[in-house]
Amino acid sequence: MAQLAAAEPVAVIRPVASRRSLAARLWRQPSGRAGLIILAVMVLAGLASLAGLVPDNPDAQNPAATLRGPSAAHLFGTDQYGRDVLSRVMAGTVLSLQTALLAVAICAVLGTVGGVAAGYFGGVISSVVTSIADLIFAIPSILLALAIVTGLGAGWQNTAIAVGVSYTPIFIRVVRGPVLAIRNADYVKAAQVLGFSRMRILFRHVLPGVGGILAVQVTLALGWAVLIEASLDFLGLGPPPPAATLGLMVSDGTNIAGIAWWNLAFPAIAVVLLVLGFTLTGDGLRDALDPSTANN
């Protein structure tokens, strides 16, 4: 690869790859830092909700205080049933996070197994796995999720399964390429020549090599899972009311936004923060792992 003449001396004086930990490098990336801060806030809000540290019971209706604007008593106001919007947003954040985590766990496991199998063993396994991935890819993911949710019924676990399955092809593609490259790398070939078992090579040499890419992909997938999960909730395919899902709250909030904007604004902001938090962290992680793209 021909380098720019001008880049030559620049490359020379670039500080030698810092031995700082990945977390520290992530924190030094502006996008990584912003993402981590946002995620910390959202996770803390979720944990507080799980611990019962909420202003009000998210499902407690109060006919005497419906559609109140933001105030000291109700920071985010109340909805048409008098429920506290802040408490519901916090509960919705928990639901979004747990769905996203389960969904990504599913697609990361399926995708890594599929991708490693396709990339490492090649041959028939590779063609079968990639063909299936291509097929799933040809069906828009939200449609696939739609069908799965409809079949399995509403509930956050089913939403997670739907989201996880539909994202699996992307994981397969992302993992397969580098595994293929690493398999053909000299040090892995050397290990083969030395007679190490395939599994040993796989776990000792190949998997650590794709760890960074996986970390980035998992983070980005979490953001994407929140987005799809919220979209499904929005379409009424998530957990049924009175469950406090952010998507459903946005949907309900839209109808009454003219008289009670806070019912639309706060759940919408929560979704945006979750998606942005993961996306920014994922971007930062990618840059932290690959110094050459850090400036782009």
Partner: protein, 343 residues
């Protein structure tokens, strides 16, 4: 001087001679192979769609009758099962469906009693218009802003573009759509409804007004992704030797950017656009719901929630076909952009 003697000899190089006929045949062969793969994918999708909708618990009887299905006598149930084709082996069911499909018969919607073909025929133009408009908005916004950002990395325009791109990626289309609907209602007292939908043919001006906002909703997300790809690809290309060489020939910076940088960045931009088209199809489900457009997305959502298998299968197949066609188109465009892929 030995050097100059050597130089007097004309170059004994050969021009590319590959006959046009042979090259044309190779190209045709590749196109056939590519189309064949697309057809295979479509068949695979059809099988998956068919299986997913059959294997899932529940059937058309329980779906259309709900709890009342439990009140049926065995004879009644068997009658209905025969009517719906339940109980026949799956391959037979599939063969029946696929055979009919080849004749353009996608079955009859349980819910409306209309043929699925006619339902899709009515909804397709709406979604097609929406998708094309959204894609256009996404391409114009994404490539335009991406090019401006890449032309001056680190400058205010670049920073602004990156913030907008991030917002476009982080804000889901249902949030943008809901916000827009709320805003339109508050400012213009405009409420989307399916009653007044005007087709492009019957009332173009009203139709454009009705399509614009949903197209914008979808287009922003697409534009954000294309923007990021465009910017990154252009910055990569800008470091290539031929860009410096073009500047070294005295070309205007703008000409260098359009003619050399942007053109060479087109391959990743095309790839991203193809991927975004896939998301776009899914996005129509959400956006048509928000803006109450009588398109395929809404048809799919209603058919799925009402367990109207025939319709759901048909619409999903049409979506998959659209996705496959766009991938095919992307491949063709690759070859248009890059002469190396033509030979």
């Amino acid at each position: 001087m030995t050097v100059e003697q050597a130089g007097a000899r004309p170059l004994a190089g050969r021009l590319p001679t590959g006959s046009a006929g042979r090259r044309g045949r190779a190209l045709a062969l590749r196109i056939v192979a590519r189309v064949g793969k697309a057809v295979l994918t479509l068949v695979g999708v059809a099988i998956i769609v068919f299986l997913v909708l059959r294997i899932l618990p529940g059937n058309q009887i329980t779906a259309s009758l709900g709890v009342n299905a439990g009140l049926l006598t065995k004879a009644q149930y068997a009658d209905l099962a025969h009517f719906y084709g339940i109980g026949k082996p799956l391959p037979q069911q599939f063969a029946q469906w696929a055979g009919a499909l080849l004749h353009g018969n996608m079955g009859v919607s349980d819910q409306s009693g209309r043929t699925v073909t006619s339902l899709i025929g009515a909804a397709l133009p709406v979604t097609l218009e929406l998708a094309v408009a959204a894609m256009l908005i996404g391409l114009v916004v994404g490539v335009g802003a991406g090019a401006i950002a890449a032309a001056a990395p680190g400058r205010p325009a670049d920073r602004a573009a990156r913030v907008v791109a991030l917002a476009g990626l982080g804000v889901p289309s249902f949030v943008i759509g809901s916000g827009l609907v709320a805003l339109l209602a508050a400012v213009f007292h405009y409420f989307p409804s399916s009653e007044g939908f005007a087709s492009l043919a019957s009332d173009p001006w009203l139709n454009i007004q009705q399509i614009f906002w949903p197209a914008l909703t979808l287009g922003l997300g697409i534009g954000a992704a294309i923007l990021r790809t465009t910017r990154g690809a252009m910055l990569d290309v800008a470091e290539q030797g031929f860009v410096r060489a073009a500047r070294g020939r005295g070309l205007q910076p703008r000409l260098v950017i359009i003619k050399h940088v942007l053109r060479n960045a087109m391959i990743p931009i095309l790839t991203m656009s193809g991927i975004q088209f896939g998301y776009l199809l899914g996005g129509t489900v959400v956006v048509e719901q928000i803006f109450v457009l009588p398109g395929l997305g809404r048809l799919l959502l209603t058919s799925v929630t009402e367990a109207d298998y025939a319709t759901a299968q048909g619409v999903t197949l049409v979506f998959a076909l659209g996705f496959i066609l766009v991938n095919l188109l992307t491949d063709v465009l690759y070859a248009v952009v890059d002469p190396r892929l033509r030979s």
